[in-house]
Symmetry: C2
């Protein structure tokens, strides 16, 4: 029983309109984080709140719901049906929460995040905890509303906004397995690298590295990685991110005088996000189906660039002459040495500075804590002890009393983003799975990358991920791209091959 | 018969909401002109069109009209009454035009302006004229609608949007007088400067002047001129402008390797606009009464900075060490020589490059032509002959066949902005009037400026212009500030004093 489409075209118009207004949210938020002088903050925040209220009203218009129901009975092709599925997902998400809760959430998280910016450097857990308790209370309330709507557990309902379809049962299973082999692997890699360094020390690059020269390297590497500067820029912000819109991608990095690798590798990471956005399917742009699939898939792109490519010997070979050109040549820039610098493994306290081997440990401990928090199995006051125990067990680190570099280090909790952390490691696993799939299709993949031929990688990503937008649910995207749904074995194999020379 | 306010508070909420959404128009338009990569243009334009449609719907909501009528009967204080007057003005302007005309206008001017960008360098009048005819037809239609609504002539109705309350009868009278003395004054000044140069040649600065050093000079001068970098920035665009919002002013300039004065003086000009915006009354911000009074008053600020201050010997004295610091010292940077460079008078073809003596000639000829065009007394095909005759009569220049640097040089007509040009010269006249008023209050004004004390100028402008926002109609603003309404005698006296040493 299907009718010729009339609700569906009306929906595409409504979503196109929201897409165009979202444009301002993206650009103004990017500007706020990168260029905006501090005095502009209040007016910008008020303008963004006004826009977000407007978009909320548009996105919760009861007519949309009725049209989505009506469109489901219309004669639609597969693509339109996929678009309708994504529309429904957005509609459910937008209408799940009462407006009063949404507004309270803005106030409570803004207060907590704002205070956190000074409390973190002051190591002020006692000041931070009451604010975080408020955020947590609200997040639990939010999770309950979403849970009722989606029919999944409260934590899963939060995670679903970032990673649609992913459930904690599966994540827990995947992470439990990783916990089995990761600490041992880390110890083995660290020992091996120490042994190698004893035989032949890793040569550190000597600075200073001027900001102008670092920027030049970043932009050259972005070019090598295929970033389209006709439709994007690189600027500076305190925390690097990929912002803007698919038609105009705004990446940011940050510069530290003594350490060009920090700006460079965060730029490589963001370039992965940026190329995904720049290469989303143009013909559907403006519709939900044309947007990036999920945050784990997004991270699989940034990590394909930063980790899969960045740690590859071929990348060091491409990078070497660019560094010599920008900073003057030095022994550290020899490709083999560069590759060692780019694959050094060292357990540490800070997630965003972690290498790809120790990174999952940071994610797993956060995942376990936030799941317990949302489930009501743990309270804010329990966080430090849980943190200290896990960081010791997984990474052998001691964070007792060091809140600043322990549970206060991330913006996610103060800003109320529970359910995001798993995406980072799921992304790393997908990235390894993509490269495994590429290797099956192109057996000489590594030789080609080593020769500086990256097109083979970009073509695969473009055809299998970028150009697919949100056409398929994540499991189907993965199946079509790699012949299987998420399979973390590829990640383990990747680490063992790269860091232990196995396989 | 007045009631306690209920419509008025509702109006302030509605206008505050529009103000906050306008924020995105300002910031996104600034970004489009300064930072945006070309590939982002289509998405940006579509987003801006969507926002502008939304703002148009909000601004023409019939409820607003009813509330404005109701508020007129409520008990309001003077400030609220002034705000209501500005609200009514915006309402009349927004509702005067049928939406279909507004949309056609966007299409027709976008087409003309877009083509003009390549037709101008190609000197392609024949290609340009048909597009301009469409724009003119539409502008006439628009002017007729506005004229019917406001009860003034069509041209006056267009001008009223930029310069509320100004009428062409008065402009014509003012300009007719200027035409009497200007050509003679120009000849006298040119002869005098030639004579002086024969006795002591003006020393040209020798470049190159690196972009980084030019930027440093611009930013230092902006600081000297009191620009608040906590609430604003300086960036680069093809055509310098002052954009952003009062809380976050985005100035732009452009750099030419061989000519640091171009970037510098356009920056000084925009800084005048910028300080006006940065110092609009904060306590009313978000309401129409807190906005800048008019475009002539706005230009009176940019020209107070660029011309009144920029041509003052005290400015050259302030500038001299900054130039030496940025570029290395050279004889051209001696204050007396710098001042001669900054006050050189030379008739030319290009309005935006004109000095303050010849500038009015450029404006007058445009004013006369566009008035005739809107009145139907001239057609597009008549423009070149009218232009050639006037530029010859007023400035002794020959533009026959040189459309590029003749009637195709400005963006105003291709973009449909008829009625704006007079504001430039009215602004120059107001600026001279402000300084005359300052001199009456502070007889040693010039000595103080010569000593680098600019606070006396800024304090006067702040109290009399900036802090007044749109509280008074322009005539009353002028009367309160300077004891008289527009009096062009001050402008003539200023030119004669500065350039002929008279008075």
């Amino acid at each position: 029983m299907s009718t010729s489409p009339s609700a569906y075209p009306a929906l595409t118009q409504a979503f196109l309109r929201m897409y165009r207004l979202e444009h301002f949210n993206s650009i103004a938020s990017w500007d706020q984080a990168s260029l905006m002088p501090p005095g502009g903050n209040q007016a910008r925040s008020e303008a963004l709140a006004e826009l977000s209220g407007l978009l909320h009203r548009l996105g919760t218009d009861p007519q949309l719901g009725a049209q989505i129901e009506a469109a489901a009975l219309e004669e639609l092709d597969d693509l339109q049906r996929a678009n309708l599925r994504e529309m429904r997902r957005k509609w459910l998400d937008a209408t799940a929460l009462p407006e009063a809760l949404v507004q309270r959430r803005v106030m409570v998280t803004a207060k907590c995040e704002h205070a956190w910016r000074t409390q973190r450097p002051a190591n002020d857990w006692a000041g931070f905890a009451p604010n975080l308790r408020e955020v947590l209370a609200l997040a639990r309330e939010e999770a309950q509303f979403l849970s009722d709507k989606l029919g999944v557990s409260p934590y899963d309902a939060l995670m679903d906004r970032f990673e649609p379809g992913m459930r904690s049962e599966r994540v827990t299973q995947v992470f439990a397995e990783v916990k089995q082999w990761l600490p041992g692997l880390i110890r083995e890699v660290v020992a091996r690298q120490a042994h190698e360094a004893a035989a032949q020390p890793v040569i550190q690059a000597t600075g200073p590295f001027s900001q102008a020269a670092q920027r030049q390297v970043c932009e050259r590497v972005m070019q090598v990685l295929g970033f389209n500067f006709d439709a994007g820029r690189l600027d500076v912000s305190t925390h690097p991110f990929s912002g803007g819109v698919p038609e105009d991608v705004r990446l940011t990095t940050r510069f530290k005088d003594g350490d060009f690798l920090m700006s460079l590798m965060s730029t490589v990471h963001e370039t992965g996000h940026g190329r995904y956005e720049q290469n989303l399917p143009r013909e559907w742009l403006g519709q939900p189906v044309a947007l990036a699939r999920s945050m784990a898939i997004h991270e699989s792109q940034s990590l394909s660039f930063e980790m899969q490519l960045g740690g590859h010997p071929g990348f060091a070979r491409l990078l070497s002459p660019l560094l010599a050109e920008a900073f003057g040549d030095q022994p550290a820039f020899a490709p083999a040495n560069l590759n060692r610098l780019l694959t050094r493994v060292a357990p540490g306290l800070i997630r965003v500075e972690a290498d790809e081997v120790t990174y999952p440990a940071h994610v797993i401990l956060r995942y376990e804590i936030e799941r317990a928090l949302i489930a009501g199995d743990a309270e804010v006051d329990d966080i430090p002890a849980l943190w200290d125990a896990q960081i010791l067990a997984l990474l052998g680190q001691d964070t007792r009393g060091n809140f600043r570099n322990g549970p206060m280090q991330d913006i996610h909790w103060p800003s109320g983003s529970f359910g995001y952390f798993p995406c980072y490691s799921l992304g790393a696993m997908y990235a390894a799975q993509w490269f495994a799939s590429m290797r099956r299709r192109t057996p000489d993949l590594d030789a080609r990358i080593a020769q500086g031929d990256l097109a083979v990688v970009f073509d695969w990503l473009s055809a299998n991920i970028w150009q697919q937008g949100s056409r398929w649910p994540t499991d189907e995207l993965s199946l079509r791209a790699s012949g299987e749904t998420l399979n973390p074995a590829h990640f383990r194999a990747h680490l063992e091959r790269r860091y232990l020379g196995q396989g």
